[in-house]
């Protein structure tokens, strides 16, 4: 990881409150950026907002990295005003990353809203590794919004391997009408691959991750998810970003484990976890 200054080369309004921020930072990019890792960015200089915010890296090209973000609060609102040429304090790359599937496994990528960019990063990694057997399911509100999450171009568009990117919209204006997890289940029914030949990856809102994790458990699928919690520092010193260790739910394992390990730091042990390793239900996450 590197505490650095990233220079803005583009900060483009893509519509639907979604922006593409492209940052030049050779020092930060000396370390390989794996799919699912993130950077902490100071969204504005000064004391408000005080702490940096975590953003997943969608793509790296040369000494430039892309962050796709949605304006949701004060920090991202200020970030949307950042001008080309300005410098932003950055820290990264941080956190754990998605593990690539075995050669004979079909990778299923499930991304919802701001959970889409890490799936773009993963699809890129799969392609770079020569793993062509993947399908991405992209969940958004509307067809208009779908076009704003740039980066998820189908590399096989117009060829025999096309249609690897499947859309699900809440209003039915594009692709499957409904949730992205339902879209994938629908697809799986039509393409009945054996469960032990599937590898699931998910990133998106909590309800979506809960649905993925439940399915993975029921169908005994290997599954990794990327979770988001309120984060302060990104490096494990503020201890604010925790998620519950699934072992703590098992009375026997809980008795044997150190109480220190009940809450896991998302910035260090995550953000990518095996779906069965963390507790997503029960209301401790918001």
């Amino acid at each position: 990881m590197r505490d650095s200054l990233s220079r803005v080369v583009e900060n483009r309004d893509l519509g639907s409150g979604i922006y593409l921020l492209r940052l030049r930072d050779p020092a930060l990019l000396e370390e390989r950026v794996e799919p699912g890792t993130f950077v902490m960015l100071a969204t504005a200089p000064g004391l408000s907002p005080l702490v940096r915010r975590p953003f997943s890296v969608q793509r790296v090209q040369g000494d430039v990295y892309d962050v796709l973000y949605r304006v949701v609060g004060e920090g991202t609102e200020l970030m949307s005003k950042v001008q080309v040429g300005q410098e932003m304090r950055s820290l990264g790359p941080l956190g754990t990353h998605f593990a690539l599937p075995a050669p004979d496994e079909t990778a299923i990528l499930l991304g919802g809203g701001v959970g889409i960019p890490p799936m773009v990063a993963l699809a890129d990694s799969l392609e770079q590794a020569g793993h062509r057997d993947w399908h991405a399911f992209v969940g958004v509100g509307t067809a208009a919004e779908a076009g704003c999450w740039v980066g998820f171009e189908d590399p096989y568009e117009g060829t025999e391997g096309a249609h690897r990117i499947h859309h699900a919209t809440m209003d039915g204006s594009l692709g499957f009408h409904g949730h992205v997890v339902a879209a994938w289940q629908d697809w799986w029914q039509a393409n009945p691959l054996p469960g032990d030949k599937l590898r699931l990856y998910g990133c998106g809102p909590l309800v979506m991750l809960q649905a993925i994790a439940r399915l993975a458990e029921e169908r005994e699928l290997r599954c990794q998810i990327s979770v988001e919690t309120v984060m302060g520092c990104g490096v494990g010193i503020c201890m604010g970003c925790v998620i519950e260790n699934a072992d703590a739910q098992d009375p026997e394992l809980y008795r044997e484990m150190s109480p220190y390990d009940r809450w896991l730091l998302v910035c260090r042990k995550g953000p990518v976890f095996d779906a069965a390793a963390v507790v997503l239900e029960g209301g401790s996450l918001h």
Binding site: M1, V51, M239, P259, R262, L285
Partner: protein, 321 residues
Amino acid sequence: MSRPESSSKLIAPEDVDLGVEVGGVAMDNPVMLASGTAGYGPELADVLDLGVLGGFVTKGIATYPWEGNAPPRIAETQAGMLNAIGLQNVGLDSFLTDKVPFLQELRARGVKVVVNIIGKTVEEYHEVARGLRGCDAVDALELNISCPNIKEGGIAFGTEPCAAGEVTAATVEGSDKPVWVKLSPNVADIASMGVACEKAGATGLSVINTLLGMAIDLETRRPLLSIGAGGLSGPAIKPVALRMVWQVSQACSIPVIGIGGIWNAKDALEFMVCGASAIQIGTANFVNPNTALEVVEGMRQWCAERGVSRIVDLVGTLDRS
């Protein structure tokens, strides 16, 4: 205006003596990282050269591991943040086995190591102090009697002079090292707390811990922190901290360590002028992990430019004439 500690002679920044002696610990410079804002050391080592520090204060250590609070544990506020971590810590045994080797290396580089200790009873504080006896990686203990997040016990030690004195005495009795006490600002008279700890054998006073605060979500009408309230830190609390450092340093004869929203060298120097012999950087580590480095260099520069050859000459020089 000319100050007694200043000379018109130009001083090179590298010739400024930043050395301080704080409650039985001699440090190369007055800058420390505050407990709970820098882990046990390795967490920050990738982005900050810890060798620049005068001292390092560990995350609080209890006799046994604590799990801490459920999330959400932090919330941002104007120029500050609230936390309710709940003192999640690895416990004494794991600290001695897993954390001490790194701290030993740090100490070998000239950084003084202070272990923050926590407990829910007087006996637990005493027990941790005893457990650290003979540990040559540790220069001093800092007693956390003020962390406001623990429902059982903790808050009482920090708010009653008698209880603070009792727990300080028990720790001093159990320890072979200097004992500092970190005071809570959530009291009517912080000076009397300092006096009680000094009488009980403390050699230094860390001032201040976080201020109890709260933040809510208006739409859901729920608190932003899982346990409701939490400790406020960051630049928002600096004026309160400065006032308390001044009050405690006036009332006590042992050194005061200034803490509270220090963001840069100017902030740090203000604390020293108000009576702090050294300072700790806390929340700033989350925002800019290189704050400590910038503070050390900035102090040196400021002193050089004003002809202050020894930083100790600044301590307690607030002019109230």
